[in-house]
């Protein structure tokens, strides 16, 4: 019953239109001091069993093939502490 987190962010060289739109809006909303914003996805994956190496390998494969689009995105898998 472990929870594994998959974070998916656009590769740095890929245009992040969403992040840019937010960053551009911030000064208008009265927020200063932010130089950039990037927006990505966060998945909480609940496992039926423990987050052992085997399960993590599965989640990594899941991230690679389904959760992230590796043509334009990077992902990171961590176990929630």
């Amino acid at each position: 019953m472990a929870r594994v987190i998959v974070e998916v962010m656009l590769k740095p060289e890929i245009l992040d239109a969403q992040g840019q739109a937010i960053a551009r809006a911030l000064p208008r909303l009265g927020f200063s001091g932010v130089s950039a914003v990037r927006q990505g996805k966060r998945f909480e994956v609940e496992l039926e069993g423990p987050a052992d190496e085997e399960a993590l390998a599965e989640v990594r494969k899941m991230a690679e093939t389904l959760l992230a689009n590796t043509v334009i995105e990077d992902y990171r898998v961590t176990v929630e502490s």
């Binding site: 890929i14 239109a17 043509v71 334009i72």
Partner: protein, 760 residues
């Protein structure tokens, strides 16, 4: 100077350095250039090119930008072009422009984004829409609608389930965000497109006839402005590597970086450009598509004085580490380049600021006859721009008929067993992926936005009214109609006839709405031009299309060629996709699709022969492809269109639908499905199977009020168009007497459940 800058300086390939190091080895081959092409660049420059110059020549001389393999064939579209008063701007500009009357003009074009849509379906398709929309904007027009012609592998193939939803979502998201109604298109499945989906996007725009903009940079002293999105490392090498070289399965690692679109930026860019045109502060304009800054600067300069100075280091970057060569090749989306007089530059910048569009003066028009680019003061490009833009290599590629062509044509579908149960056959075809309802796709597209859509899916052609689109248009009652069509199976059997049949169908689809077909755009999707058999298909298809355009009196205004659509050495079916634009004088008189009221006479126009080569029946029932496609009878097509438009303008028609894939059976079923109104008909004498499923061209189904029948029959007679009364609309079933009876509800269930069943 920072350490980084110092290093950059040291490796900068300047013109001076090129002169000093004439023998330095350059990666022309890696950039897709042949040795003789590279030698030609050296000859033009009288020295080796700098790496920036090599970047420019390699993208500008790529197949994608230079049309080097297709040029000799495409010329026919000009030499054989019919005289047309309507043609205001023909081939060679960003898009053709057609006079639609009352002082207004329409510009339209179709373009492929096939390879990128395979690599990254969503972004590939989205940026395909974005690119064609900018082409239309660069003519000075307001983009007013889009269409999409799609081809995928077998519907139930694993990869189709990856590619199709992504492509549809990409088109949907980008087009919807721009507020461009999607008014039509095609979705076709065939195993030949597995690994090579076709994504052809069409955009149409509206402008005043006297306000056409061209891609030109006249007037020394005028400013060159780059505006829109920042430049990043998008699709670098895309133009030469991605768009024109075939990629292998194992090339995962070589996947080039893809372009990613920002439809919001594009929407702002549209509104900004329209305001710039309104304020009359643009001398010349060019969109940035494939080959980005390289293409925009060389083409603008070549069509202007020939001279331009550009400070490349002024290009605003999303990624500050980009090198000049990369900036030149970047395909970052949502960018435009304009030429502006010094007097207007402030007004220009103010309008960009209003729309939050970054704009930067990066250069100036000169009378020096050369395109000169500097990077922090060092000259890195110094070329005659016309040599890159217009004087690319031209190949007369060898071609010959494919080895198996004769055997393929000899394999007549007459040998196939015919069905006993025609009811079951009709349902089998109606539910097959190619004929099933495309609602799963089209319901993801906004067809209503801006309130000018008169007809959209599932009509034969999209129709828009003009009067409310732009200020000043209130007076015109006109509308435009557009359809795209193409049948790869027909073209495989006979590329000459196949291209003509594609044109004939689009032409017919426009005519059944009541519009008069005016002009043509086309997207030619083929395998590798280096394969003589593919080249034969290409040569035949272009010849067929050019001849047909001449016969039908509709000029080609532009288009696009996509080569290298093949997996390994197996090319796709040759797939010419043809778009036809028509005009309807009073858009209120447009004819709706299918059966629109009970008690109407159902008439079949045209002649039915036994023609099953490449038919939907042979494909679905037998997986068979052989024989010859239906005859392309263009004179008959012309007579049919004349009758349809004349009848529409006299208000004689209450509904219409053309006959195409699946023949009369499918046309009857689709007509009944349009509004849930059945019909009872009697087939003409002859074999019921042939009458129902043959795919003879130049036919249509129309309905008329019984009171109008005589007048309509007379009109047909006067034009020697066969017209047979089959029966009457009404009831809630499609009844073909003595043959079959199917409730409309059952037709609907069969028609609508296929794609959701596959794609969820």
């Amino acid at each position: 100077m920072s350490e980084h800058e110092a290093r950059e300086r040291a490796t900068l390939d300047t013109v001076k350095r090129a002169q000093d190091t004439p023998d330095e080895r350059q990666p022309y081959a890696e950039l897709g250039m042949k040795l003789d092409e590279y030698d030609r660049v050296r000859e033009i420059l009288g020295r080796r090119p700098t790496s920036s110059e090599l970047a420019i020549y390699s993208v500008m001389w790529s197949e994608h930008c230079s049309y080097k393999s297709s040029k000799v064939h495409l010329r026919q579209f000009g030499t054989k072009a019919p005289k047309s008063e309507a043609l205001l701007v023909g081939m060679g500009e960003n898009a053709g422009v057609v006079d639609i009357g009352d002082g207004w003009a329409a510009t339209f074009k179709i373009e492929s984004h096939n390879h990128p849509s395979y690599v990254e379906p969503h972004q590939g398709a989205a940026t395909g829409v974005g690119g064609i929309v900018r082409d239309i904007m660069s003519m000075g027009a307001r983009p007013i609608a889009v269409m999409d012609a799609l081809r995928f592998g077998a519907a139930d193939a694993h990869d189709t389930r990856r590619v199709l939803p992504g492509v549809v979502e990409g088109i949907s998201h980008y087009g919807n965000c721009l507020g461009l109604p999607n008014i039509g298109g095609e979705v076709v499945f065939d195993p030949c497109y597995i690994g090579n989906p076709l994504v052809n996007a069409l955009c149409v725009g509206l402008l005043r006839k006297d306000q056409i903009k061209l891609a030109t940079a006249p007037g020394p002293g005028n400013k060159v402005v780059l505006f829109g999105a920042l430049t990043g490392p998008d699709g670098i090498g895309g133009a030469s590597v991605l768009a024109s070289a075939t990629f292998e399965d194992e090339s995962h690692a070589k996947r080039p970086s893809v372009q990613v679109g920002d439809p919001f930026m594009e929407k702002l860019l549209i509104e900004c450009c329209l305001e710039l045109y309104q304020a009359d502060v643009v001398v010349g304009i060019q969109d940035l598509g494939a080959a980005g800054v390289s293409c925009a600067t060389t083409e603008l300069a070549a069509k202007g004085t020939g001279g331009m100075d550009v400070r490349l280091d002024l290009v605003p970057l999303r990624d500050p580490s980009l090198r000049p060569e990369e900036i030149l090749m970047s395909e970052s989306q949502e960018r435009m380049m304009a030429v502006v007089t010094p007097d207007d530059i402030d007004a220009f910048m103010a309008i960009c600021a209003k729309w939050d569009i970054p704009a930067t003066v990066i250069g100036e028009v000169t009378d020096g006859g050369r395109l000169v680019m500097t990077w922090h003061g060092e000259t890195i490009v110094d070329i005659p721009p016309g040599t890159a833009a217009d004087e690319g290599p031209v190949y007369e590629r060898p071609f010959h008929e494919p080895a198996g062509q004769a055997a393929l044509n000899a394999d007549d579908p007459a040998r196939l067993p015919r069905p006993e149960d025609l009811r079951a056959t009709l349902l089998q075809l109606l539910g097959s992926p190619n004929l099933a309802s495309k609602e799963w796709v089209t319901s993801q597209y906004d067809r209503y936005v801006r309130g000018n859509t008169v007809l959209a899916q599932p009509a034969d052609a999209g129709v828009l009214r003009i009067s409310e689109i732009m200020p000043g248009a209130e007076e015109t009652a006109r509308g435009i109609a557009l359809s795209t069509d193409g049948n790869g199976r027909y073209a495989r059997l006979d590329p000459y006839a196949g291209a003509q049949l594609a044109l004939a169908e689009a032409y017919r689809n426009v005519a059944v709405t009541g519009a008069t077909p005016l002009a043509v755009t086309n997207c030619l999707n083929f395998g590798s031009p280096e394969d003589p058999e593919v080249m034969w298909q290409f040569a035949e298809a272009t010849r067929g299309l050019a001849d047909a355009c001449k016969t039908l009196g509709v000029p080609v205004t532009g288009g696009n060629v996509s080569f290298y659509n093949q997996t390994g050495s197996t090319p796709i079916h040759p797939t010419p996709v043809v778009g036809v634009l028509g005009v309807i004088d009073d858009v209120a008189g447009r004819v709706r699709s299918g059966f629109t009221a009970p008690g109407q006479k159902v008439l079949l126009l045209g002649e039915t022969e036994e023609e099953f080569g490449g038919s939907e029946w042979a494909h679905v029932a037998h997986g068979h492809l052989g024989g010859l496609p239906p005859k392309a009878d263009l004179e008959a097509e012309r007579a049919l269109a004349l009758v349809l438009t004349e009848a529409a303008s006299r208000g004689l028609l209450t509904g219409s639908h053309d006959l195409s894939d699946g023949g009369l059976a499918i046309a009857l079923a689709e007509s009944a499905l349009a509004q849930g109104i059945g019909a009872t008909v009697v087939l003409p004498d002859g074999d019921a199977f042939v009458e129902l499923f043959s795919e003879s061209s130049a036919r249509a189904l129309v309905t008329v009020d019984p009171e109008s029948f005589d007048a309509f029959a007379e009109l047909c007679a006067a034009n020697e168009l066969p017209c047979q009364c089959l029966g009457t609309t009404g009831g809630d079933a499609l009844v073909v007497e003595n043959v079959l009876e199917i409730p409309v509800a059952e037709l609907r269930e069969t028609h609508t459940s296929t794609l959701p069943g596959i794609f969820g």
